[in-house]
């Protein structure tokens, strides 16, 4: 600790840089050679004491003479050296930091102190609520409790999904796009197929991935604590390109060209944009405006939501109500009693004694597709049905066979009437189910049973009892109307009841050999000529005695019976047969059997609109685009293919391969399968979506969380079986 030296002598001994204290007289230049002790005491004082002791013992040191000039000065107060001061500062600052941190840790507001940034607006309530004590634990499983060791809890993702699983049911898989491994493998193979386009190669993974063991946590992409204005769904494109093969810089730089986008897939509605734009609207001298059918102007807001198709009432009714009404004004004949030539010898033993008088003038009649379906379960007539011409007219049957066909059909119809009169709607239900089961070759699904029930609902069996009583001559007593049976009181069949009771009594008397006097017949009243449109103007079943037919008056567009039978006929008899059903359901609605396959779809009549909660791989919002004047015209993106291009050789081949060659080139129901719109170009999008312009990230147009629901919607026909 010695510091004795001439103050200006740079060659003199230096202070030990490690010393803790300096002499209090240093600033006066009067520091002694001893310097302070390590404990901060004046060294000269100690030396005086030790010298006094030494003097007492006779061992006084010579060194006392070195500080003679300081003899008169009292002991100094040593001061901390620079090193010591620095260490003290460091220590104090460290202690202060620790104390402040401890104070913050036990503070009630510790979450707001240690949170590494505000939560997003939708999650902000987690930290700011007053219900939960350990609020961080809502998302971080081990955030509270012991500092170093806490109870093993759920993983963070499970906590995320505890709230989010309701709208992302497959997210718990924690796999790419929330898809199971087998589907990912299948998608990978699909994307990597050699014949695939560049666009599809984009979706191929960069390297082989072990799909079974991949574990994607939410935090891989969604980063919280980036402020309340942050959007957790804003995912950088690098996140996507971490897996996907064909990396490109931006939408405008390297994104492969669209391959037939928007995809032209079979639609449930046979609507030809070209036909309407070039022909029908032109004929009516009306402007073909896309918004008329796709934009619901009745919704609030400057621009309503864009629909794939608005309903019939809003989009089609203006032009199509009148034709539908005209087509059904005479009702729909489901069943007609054929005329049979009773003079023909083949009918002698045919049991036609009670055949209606008005149906005995020769072979004439037409069998509707519905009637064919109802009779197909009758094995006795199956062979005859198979030989019937497509028109269903007796007149079109070969002359040599006409008599036998008429006989067989008449007998089968009589059995159908009897069955229906006896068993009611169950008779129809049973016959349709038998036919459909035979056609499909399997037991029926619940949806198909429901369709059959819908077809039979509303069918009045009493009409058939009326037929038995009024059109056919009494042949035998009906078991259900014997003496012991209380005659039903029904406003539909009062006349029938009376008649049948009369017949029963007659039979009884005849068996007793006691022919009663003929009861007085009620005054015959000539029935008024019935026309469906006026007789059952609001729709329903009725008998047409003029032509001996059971008819149905539809209730205009979307009549459930017409629709159901159109669908059933389409499945069993084929699409062409369905077109014979009045109302023209099959003219606009695609009921082709190849589309339906061997199943009966339940959502056939609805426009195939994607539900809001279904996320497909690709997304697009029309509303913000149509608000821009530059692209407000739908045809900026959706330009119609010209008719000549539409019926090009390529498309003809395409249609022929689909079995719809007869749909060419006129505007018939088949033409809507054609790609009516030219594919959108990347340049159309990238003119706005470019760096510095509108967002051009992957997630701007693509969804990540697709899941099974989104994949099914993306890759399969919407008319798939709903079991």
């Amino acid at each position: 600790m010695s510091n004795e030296s001439s103050p200006r002598d740079v060659s003199a001994r230096r202070w030990n840089p490690q010393c803790q204290w300096t002499c209090g007289y240093l600033e006066l230049g009067l520091s002694c050679r001893h310097g302070p002790t390590n404990q901060g005491q004046c060294g000269r004082t100690l030396e005086k004491n030790s010298n006094a002791e030494a003097h007492a013992s006779g061992h006084a040191k010579d060194s006392v003479n070195h500080d003679q000039h300081l003899q008169d000065l009292p002991a100094c107060f040593p001061r901390r050296s620079l090193l010591s001061s620095r260490r003290l500062w460091t220590l104090n600052l460290g202690i202060l930091t620790g104390i402040v941190l401890l104070f913050c840790m036990v503070s009630p507001n510790r979450e707001s102190i240690f949170v590494p940034g505000e939560l997003t607006a939708k999650h902000a309530q987690i930290l700011n609520n007053k219900i939960i004590a350990d609020r961080c634990s809502s998302c971080h499983p081990k955030s509270h409790g012991n500092i170093l060791f806490s109870q093993a809890g759920a993983k963070q993702d499970k906590l995320c999904l505890s709230c989010h699983s309701s709208h992302m049911s497959n997210a718990a898989l924690r796999s790419p796009h929330d898809l199971p491994a087998d589907q990912l493998v299948a998608l990978g193979k699909f994307a990597m197929a050699p014949s695939k386009s560049e666009l599809q190669l984009v979706s191929a993974p960069t390297q082989p991935i072990d799909w079974q063991n991949i574990d994607l946590t939410c935090a891989k992409c969604h980063r919280e604590h980036h402020g309340c204005t942050a959007d957790l769904r804003e995912i950088g494109s690098t996140r996507c390109q971490a897996c996907h093969k064909n990396q490109f810089e931006a939408l405008a730089k390297g994104h492969p060209e669209f391959d037939n986008y928007p995809e032209s897939r079979p639609r449930g509605l046979a609507f030809s944009h070209n036909a309407h734009a070039e022909k029908y609207f032109a004929q009516k001298n009306r402007q073909f405006d896309c918004r008329g059918c796709h934009l619901d102007r009745s919704r609030p807001g400057s621009m309503g939501p864009i629909f794939r198709t608005l309903g019939f009432d809003q989009a089609c009714a203006d032009c199509h109500v009148a034709p539908i009404r005209a087509a059904t004004i005479d009702g729909w004949t489901l069943l007609q009693i054929p005329s049979v030539d009773l003079t023909d010898t083949i009918n002698a033993a045919g049991g036609f004694s009670d055949w209606p008088e008005n149906a005995r003038f020769g072979y004439e009649g037409q069998f509707s597709p519905v009637l064919k379906i109802l009779l197909q379960s009758d094995t006795a007539v199956a062979k005859t049905l198979a030989g019937l011409p497509a028109s269903g007219k007796l007149a079109d049957v070969a002359d040599g066979q006409r008599g036998s066909v008429a006989r067989d059909m008449a007998q089968a119809i009589r059995r159908l009437i009897d069955d229906t009169a006896r068993d009611g709607q169950a008779a129809w239900s049973r016959r349709i189910a038998t036919t459909l089961t035979r056609k499909l070759g399997r037991s029926l699904y619940a949806s198909e049973h429901k369709l059959i029930n819908d077809l039979c609902a509303g069918l009045p069996p009493d009409l058939f009892r009326q037929i038995q009583g009024n059109w056919f001559k009494p042949r035998r007593p009906l078991v259900e109307f014997n003496d012991s049976h209380t005659p039903p009181v029904d406003r539909w069949s009062n006349r029938l009841v009376e008649s049948k009771f009369r017949l029963t009594n007659q039979s009884s008397d005849l068996l007793l050999g006691n022919a009663p006097a003929q009861p007085q017949q009620p005054q015959a009243r000539k029935p008024a000529k019935i026309r469906g449109a006026t007789h059952v103007s609001e729709g329903g079943w009725y008998l047409n005695s003029d032509i001996l037919a059971v008819q149905y008056m539809p209730r205009g567009h979307a009549d459930p019976l017409l629709a159901g039978w159109s669908q059933m006929v389409s499945v069993i008899e084929g699409g062409q047969a369905a077109k014979k059903i009045p109302g023209g359901c099959a003219q606009c609605h695609d009921l082709s059997t190849d589309r339906l396959g061997t199943t009966v779809a339940t959502n056939l009549w609805r426009v195939n609109t994607k539900p809001a909660n279904v996320r497909t791989f690709t997304k697009f919002a029309h509303e913000p685009h149509l608000a821009l004047p530059a692209v407000s015209d739908c045809r900026f993106c959706h330009s119609l293919t010209k008719t000549k291009e539409l019926i090009s050789d390529t498309n003809i081949q395409l249609i022929k391969s689909d079995g719809n060659a007869d749909a060419l080139p006129n505007y018939t129901s088949g033409s809507f399968h054609l790609p009516e719109f030219t594919s959108i170009k990347i340049s159309q999008c990238s003119s706005c979506h470019r760096p510095g312009g509108a967002n051009d990230g992957c997630t701007q147009c693509h969804n990540y969380h697709v899941g099974q629901v989104g994949l099914d919607w993306s890759t399969t026909d919407s008319a798939s079986v709903n079991r």
Partner: protein, 280 residues
């Protein structure tokens, strides 16, 4: 002379090596972050652990200073390593934090790290510029000696002023000393001087002393010149004191905040591991 050149060459060679290693380390970290980002990895974890390792490496200088007997190379090499490691850590820090920095604790931690880092950079700047400034002064003074030297100079000046009064040439110098030089020699320099040390006061006093010459006889002239030299010496000492104090102040601040930073980093690491679920 030859050995000095050889030593300078060694230093330059060492500096080049350190620079190369630093650049390579930065490039490797950037590549690792890119690699992790391209594979949905946690880039923040990579930069975080790298930053922790670099920060720990910088504390080795403090350890080295305490281990004076271990043959682990001169402190200058460790200081150079500390400097380049600090530069590397600052770059990794910029990669590690999310911009803008949010949260009170994170802001304090980042501020502390930034303050320590830029304090270190400022120290480098000072250590390069201050010696040149100090070299403008004729003599070198050790910081520890300056108070004593200032006291000696003050005593000499006072003694000179008192002796001048006994020369029967009037009390011009003594009065001037009492009015103007006494505060200069015995009081601390003003706050402005400590912030921006200039020779303005010295020059002013020396001019005034020159102006006194006409009032002095021959003996008085000698004392005036002597006083003028003492004014120069005192100003030199003050300049040394201020400049060296500045260096020591920033060094003290750098070191003191460093240990506060250690505590903050420890808490940060514990929080991150715990909230990530990585800690049991």
């Amino acid at each position: 002379m030859a050995s000095a050149k050889s030593r300078l060459g060694q230093i330059r060679n060492r500096r080049n090596w350190f620079m190369l290693i630093t650049v390579l380390a930065v490039a490797a970290t950037v590549a690792a972050v890119q690699w992790a980002g391209n594979r949905l990895g946690n880039a923040a974890a990579i930069t975080g652990w790298t930053l922790l390792a670099a920060t720990a490496g910088m504390y080795l200088l403090s350890v080295r200073k305490r281990c004076i007997r271990l043959p682990v190379g001169p402190v200058s090499i460790w200081l150079q390593m500390h400097t380049y490691l600090g530069s590397f850590a600052l770059i990794v820090f910029a990669m590690h934090v999310g911009w803008p920095i949010r949260g009170w604790f994170e802001i304090v931690l980042a501020s502390c790290f930034t303050f320590v880092s830029f304090g270190g950079i400022w120290l480098i700047v000072l250590s390069r510029t201050l010696p040149r400034k100090l070299a403008a002064v004729k003599r070198d003074y050790r910081m520890e000696d300056i108070p004593a030297l200032q006291a000696v100079v003050a005593r000499e000046a006072q003694a000179l002023a008192i002796s001048s009064a006994r020369l029967n040439e009037g009390a011009t110098l003594a009065e001037y000393y009492q009015q103007r030089l006494l505060p200069f020699f015995h009081e601390r320099r003003s706050r402005w001087y400590r912030l921006l040390p200039t020779g303005w006061t010295r020059r002013q006093l020396q001019r005034e002393l020159i102006d006194l010459e006409r009032y002095l006889a021959e003996a008085g002239h000698l004392r005036r010149e002597k006083l003028s030299e003492l004014v120069q010496a005192k100003d030199d000492l003050d300049f040394h004191s201020v400049v060296q104090s500045r260096l020591r102040f920033f060094f003290t601040l750098h070191v003191a905040l460093t240990w506060g930073l250690v505590i903050l980093i420890a808490v940060h690491v514990i929080l991150v591991l715990r909230f990530q679920g990585a800690m049991l």
